[in-house]
């Protein structure tokens, strides 16, 4: 896992459709009309640029007040580095920035994707290279409205692109990738088969339907190369859809008409995505969009091409409209608007472009039978707080809840990838309100809809999948499948179940810039609760169990937890659906257990009494009273020590048993010793009638039971004492009462309260609560 959380950045500059027929390759359609130009219809890009520029200006000092051209900050940084090379070391590749400045500004610039630069870079290099590029570049861009359609694109004539982007048959269904300066052109070209058809005839029902099952439902998540298990379970639903399509298929007699009645026929099509990934992220970004978008989208087109000659038909339609437009001399933007309204393929490309470049889910429908949902799955969480020198990604859910920990069965590391099977101890937090999601699901129709609807009704963020399965009668595997579906499609997030007794804090990664919007949303959703800023302010203190913030009658509890849920949603959601996202980012509170307390490292520090490292057991006597202090000094005597691992460490020091469930023989003896000593202490406490723990209100009676419980659960608990598993997991996973578990844990010194003096001496755990 990369240590840096990268904000989503689709790097999408344009999409180009190239088809080749006997008449030669044609650039049929591209979107946006004027890529990389300022007035292009590129919401995201613009947003991005603006924000970058603005941030530069805000901080006045690094953007050096250059002219207002908008390229300032980038250029600045560049100089910045150039200067740096001179100043600090010789390490800087010197000709790097010089070249940049002279021939392709911003071109090789580290990782700032200066949009504008790129455009210029592209142009100038092109000129250098081939001379093809017109001098009217600038004119093209600025005077786009008036320009004749179709002349040039990204600084090159259309016919250059046509040749350039139509590869030979060797690239059939392979990754086609070409770089020009800093733009990457990536596609997945598809060629007609020798026999003139677009797919193998045999097994076509099954095969073909599978190919892009990617999601006509709009909620169907599976990718073919992913997660077998879920795919299996989604099978039934796929089948329904495929039946639908295949029956149509049979009726249409696929490629027959095309071959015969048309003088010309398509032999290849290539949907080329133009990307401008930052240099350092190039492989990741290209891979992301290739796997998730390019391949899937093209597969869907191929499927439809095979079935109804879709791509060729639409292409001819588009070319025809263009022809007319040329005669009428309509403007590029008008032409594009017309194409988008008249051709479903143009519209599909438009939709993919606008949604994907905004990091949203693209719901594309090619025609009434076929629709598909595409997305680059966003990063949903990170275990790292960003430091001052990292790129921040505010609002991203900060958690370690989905990391694999030693207590997980090493074989089944179920959580390793977010859309794989979700562990049964997780709960589902919807990122939008239930009614909205249900409505969307119903609207999308689809085979999963009823099951999803039912499940959403049963689901509670406070109950784990296993618990819900038990109460609702839905099988666990179905729940996991449905839940991962919702998670994948950004409608929900898997979290450790919320609980009032757990501790929540304001996430360090919380995006407070959304606070205002979130406050309003929160107010609307929970009118009876204190305002969101107040809640956050209250959660800003020393971490305490959530329940302690709201004096709770039971009635309130429910509500408050829900409120919490809201918070959680906010915090983390990366902006799922947009309404959610509003609130979502804002507040992140969820520090929940997962985070906050989590990992307690309850490591055991074993201590031991006696002395020598190994012989210690013998000298128990002295140890006794200062028994196990995992820690500390006061026991000063020799006991504490045991540094089991290093014989040379002096006995005065303590050490931890990091992996109690895989303790070495010596460590095991220490563990036994600890247990024995604990029992003794308990016993004596009892005799004295002293309740050392202040929290033992109900205590005395329970104290008696405690000893037995301790013995009984010690072996169970011990595997969680490894520094990676949150103590909050124990009650959930072992199906024990929280209060009971905490009694034992407190006894072991893992208390949430600063332990009292008595505890200190007996504490055998070091616990830490991290964000």
């Amino acid at each position: 896992m990369s240590s840096i959380a990268r904000p989503p950045d689709p790097c999408l500059v344009a999409i180009i459709l190239i088809v080749r027929s006997r008449a030669g390759p044609r650039l049929v359609f591209h979107y946006p009309p004027n890529p990389l130009s300022e007035n292009g219809l590129r919401p995201t890009m613009k947003g991005r640029r603006i924000s970058r520029t603005r941030s530069g200006l805000n901080k006045g000092y690094d953007s050096d007040f250059t002219d207002a051209s908008g390229t300032t900050s980038d250029e600045d940084e560049e100089e910045n580095h150039q200067g740096g090379s001179g100043v600090s070391t010789a390490h800087r590749p010197s000709n790097f920035s010089l070249d940049d400045a002279s021939s392709s500004p911003g071109g090789t610039d580290l990782q700032r994707p200066g949009r504008i630069h790129k455009k210029r870079g592209g142009n100038s290099d092109v000129e250098d290279e081939s001379g093809v590029a017109s001098d009217r570049q600038e004119g093209d861009v600025s005077g786009a409205e008036l320009r004749e359609p179709g002349e040039s694109l990204l600084g090159l004539q259309m016919d250059v692109w046509e040749k350039f982007l139509s590869p030979s048959r060797a690239w059939h269904k392979r990754r086609f990738e070409v770089g020009i300066n800093d733009l990457a052109f990536v596609g997945w070209p598809v060629f007609v088969r020798e026999d003139g058809s677009w797919r193998k005839q045999r097994r076509k029902k099954k095969k073909a339907s599978r190919e892009w099952e990617g999601g006509e439902l709009g909620h169907n998540e599976m990718e073919d190369d992913q997660d077998e298990a879920i795919e299996e379970s989604a099978e039934s639903h796929d089948m329904t859809d495929s039946k639908q399509t295949t029956s149509l298929d049979a009726g249409t007699a696929p490629s027959a008409p095309r071959d015969s009645d048309d003088k010309d026929a398509m032999t290849m099509f290539n949907v080329v995505f133009v990307l401008d990934p930052p240099l350092l992220e190039y492989p990741i970004r290209v891979r992301e969009i290739y796997d998730n978008i390019i391949k899937k989208f093209t597969k869907a087109l191929k499927w439809e091409q095979a079935r109804t000659d879709y791509v060729w038909g639409e292409s001819q339609h588009i070319l025809h409209i263009k022809e007319i437009a040329r005669e009428k001399r309509s403007s590029v933007n008008n032409l594009h608007a017309e194409l988008i309204s008249q051709s479903s393929l143009a519209k599909a490309i438009y939709t993919v472009y606008t949604s994907i470049s905004a990091s949203k889910i693209a719901s594309v429908s090619l025609n009434k039978d076929v629709s598909i949902s595409l997305q680059i799955p966003p990063l949903t969480s990170t275990p790292y707080v960003s430091g001052p020198s990292d790129k921040a990604c505010p609002g991203l859910w900060l958690t370690t809840a989905d990391s694999v920990t030693p207590a997980d069965d090493p074989v089944a590391d179920e959580n390793s990838s977010p859309h794989q099977v979700l562990a049964k101890h997780f709960a589902l937090l919807l990122l939008d309100n239930e009614a909205t999601i249900r409505k969307d699901i119903e609207a999308s129709g689809g085979a999963l809809a009823p099951a999803l609807g039912h499940y959403i009704r049963c689901s509670k963020p406070t109950k784990s999948f296993a618990q819900i399965s038990a109460t609702s009668g839905i099988s666990l595997s179905t729940i996991q499948m449905l839940a991962s579906h919702l998670v994948y499609w950004r409608r929900a997030r898997a979290i450790p179940p919320l609980h009032q007794r757990d501790t929540y804090i304001v996430s360090p990664n919380c995006d407070l810039s959304k606070l205002e919007v979130a406050t309003a949303a929160y107010q609307a959703a929970f009118p009876t609760l204190p305002s969101l800023p107040k809640m956050l302010s209250a959660l800003s203190g020393t971490p305490r169990p959530y329940g302690s913030f709201i004096p709770t009658s039971n009635i309130l509890q429910d509500q408050s937890i829900t409120g919490d849920q809201e918070d959680c949603r906010d915090g983390s959601s990366e902006g799922r659906s947009r309404q959610v996202s509003g609130r979502a980012r804002s507040t992140l509170i969820p520090s929940d257990r997962g985070k906050t307390d989590p990992r307690q490292k309850e490591q055991e520090s074993v201590d031991d009494a006696a002395s020598s490292s190994s012989s210690s057991l013998a000298s128990q006597g002295s140890g006794d009273e200062t028994p196990m202090p995992g820690g500390r000094d006061k026991e000063s005597e020799m006991h504490m020590t045991h540094s089991i691992l290093d014989k040379n460490i002096s006995l005065r020091t303590t050490s931890l048993i990091l992996m109690p469930h895989r303790a070495s023989p010596i460590e095991s003896r220490w563990l036994e010793e600890i247990l024995a000593r604990l029992s003794e202490t308990l016993e004596s406490d009892q005799q004295l009638g002293a309740t050392p723990n202040s929290d033992g209100a109900a205590g005395d009676l329970e104290e008696a039971g405690l000893q037995a419980s301790l013995k009984k659960y010690w072996p169970t608990f011990i595997k969680y004492f490894n520094g990676y598993d949150a103590l909050e997991k124990i009650p959930v996973r072992e199906s024990l009462k929280r209060r009971f578990v905490w009694q034992i844990l407190n006894r072991l010194g893992a208390g949430q309260q600063p332990s009292s003096e008595v505890d200190r001496g007996e504490s055998v755990l070091v616990s830490v609560r991290h964000w």
Binding site: P508, S513, M535, H770
Partner: protein
């Protein structure tokens, strides 16, 4: 290249490097460009390519690092290397002037003041150093600051005995680094090509690195108690949200007696297992609650919220020395702290005389929850205590958020 000397009046060449797919090609881009330029030049001069001579050239790959984000006035740089080793008179003037003031204590703003350099140039210089991994950015250290463990805690300090020892060497004031490099502890993630790190020479017996505990209290004097590796872990684990360093110090003063607290915190930040919990103020736009205990805080019913902490802790900044006898007494490099601090305090107290040096309009701009206290204090040139006091007089409800 067009020229009469070619048969067809033109010569085209394309020099290709073949790399495997997994290879990160970014570093080769400059090589390719350089080669193209070089070959073009050679061809122009002597027909190098068209005549097929052979010659050799040299090239070197330079790794490309991500550009560091803009630096902020309230960030505190700390060298991860000894700049003296590679600084020479050819360095940029600004750089030469600021470098001596980079000590892990001075914020960038303070550095530019002390060095008398232009602020934006200072920022640039700092970014250069950051780019090459020579610096680490910290926050402004003060006893009112709050630190808490991150998720990396278990995988680093808690389980790594070598790190515990390294920490002990770094923070143990009995080693009183009289000469004390203000460098950071060896940084694991530092760039390989530039880390002639200092490490304290292994002159310490591994058993002796542990800082002693202050009071040779009761019984056993025979073996002086020390803060051992686990002790260090526990100290770090006891840092938490909502608790200022001062409060933490008071609870653990015995163990901390021979520990340089600033270095202790710095160590955790650098190793990534601690983070600073920043405070933000948010004006809700509602009228200030009247008779509540504190105007700045409106705890929920039944909650104690954070008021007490913020309040009491805000004092710390101006009274560092009294609070930390140990650090003051022990550490050689403590001097800069007091120096810089007194400076900021001075400027603060100057202003304190007149009421409302900062008018409400100015202040209001900072109360959107996006400006941390460090930033507000730095930009308004007031101390945190003054800020807290000032917030109480702000017309309207102001909530303090920590994150």
């Amino acid at each position: 290249m067009k020229s009469q000397r070619y048969d067809r009046n033109e010569f085209i060449f394309n020099f290709c490097l073949v790399l495997s797919e997994e290879e990160d090609f970014s570093t080769y881009k400059s090589v390719v460009q350089k080669l193209a330029d070089l070959l073009r030049g050679l061809e122009e001069q002597s027909g190098f390519l068209s005549r097929d001579h052979s010659r050799s050239g040299e090239g070197k790959l330079f790794p490309i690092y991500p550009a560091p984000p803009p630096v902020k006035a309230w960030q505190v740089p700390l060298f991860t290397v000894r700049y003296q080793k590679f600084m020479d008179e050819n360095w940029d003037l600004t750089m030469q002037r600021i470098v001596p003031h980079i000590n892990g204590v001075n914020s960038i703003r303070i550095i530019s003041i002390l060095a008398d350099t232009d602020f934006s140039l200072t920022c640039r210089a700092i970014r250069h150093l950051l780019y090459y991994g020579c610096l680490f950015l910290l926050d402004i250290f003060s006893f009112s600051a709050i630190y808490a463990p991150t998720a990396q805690f278990s995988s680093t300090i808690a389980s790594d005995e070598a790190m515990q020892q390294e920490c002990a060497r770094y923070v143990n004031t009995t080693f009183a680094p009289s000469t004390i490099p203000n460098t950071a502890p060896p940084l694991s993630p530092s760039r390989p090509d530039l880390s002639p790190m200092h490490t304290n020479p292994p002159r310490f017996d591994p058993h002796d690195v542990w800082p002693p505990i202050s009071d040779p209290s009761p019984e056993d004097t025979e073996s002086p108690a020390v803060v051992d590796g686990i002790g260090i872990v526990e100290l770090y684990a006891s840092l938490k949200q909502g608790q200022s360093l001062k409060q933490w110090y008071l609870q653990h003063s015995r163990e901390l007696a021979y520990i340089d607290i600033r270095r202790f915190i710095t160590f955790g930040i650098i190793k990534g297992f601690l983070y600073r919990v920043h405070k933000y103020a948010y004006a809700t736009g509602l009228p200030a609650p009247v008779l509540k205990s504190t105007p700045t805080h409106t705890p929920l019913p039944g909650s104690t919220a954070t008021t007490p902490h913020t309040r009491s802790s805000s004092r710390a900044r101006t009274t560092v020395t009294p609070n930390t006898p140990s650090t003051a007494s022990s550490v050689g490099d403590e001097a800069p702290i007091s120096a810089s601090r007194s400076r900021s305090v001075d400027s603060g107290s100057d202003e304190e005389g007149e009421e409302e040096v900062v008018d409400d309009r100015t202040l209001a701009k900072y109360l959107d929850g996006l400006h941390c206290f460090d930033q507000i204090c730095t930009e308004l040139e007031i101390s945190e205590k003054e800020l807290t006091e000032r917030l109480k007089r702000f017309p309207g409800e102001v909530l303090i958020l920590h994150r």
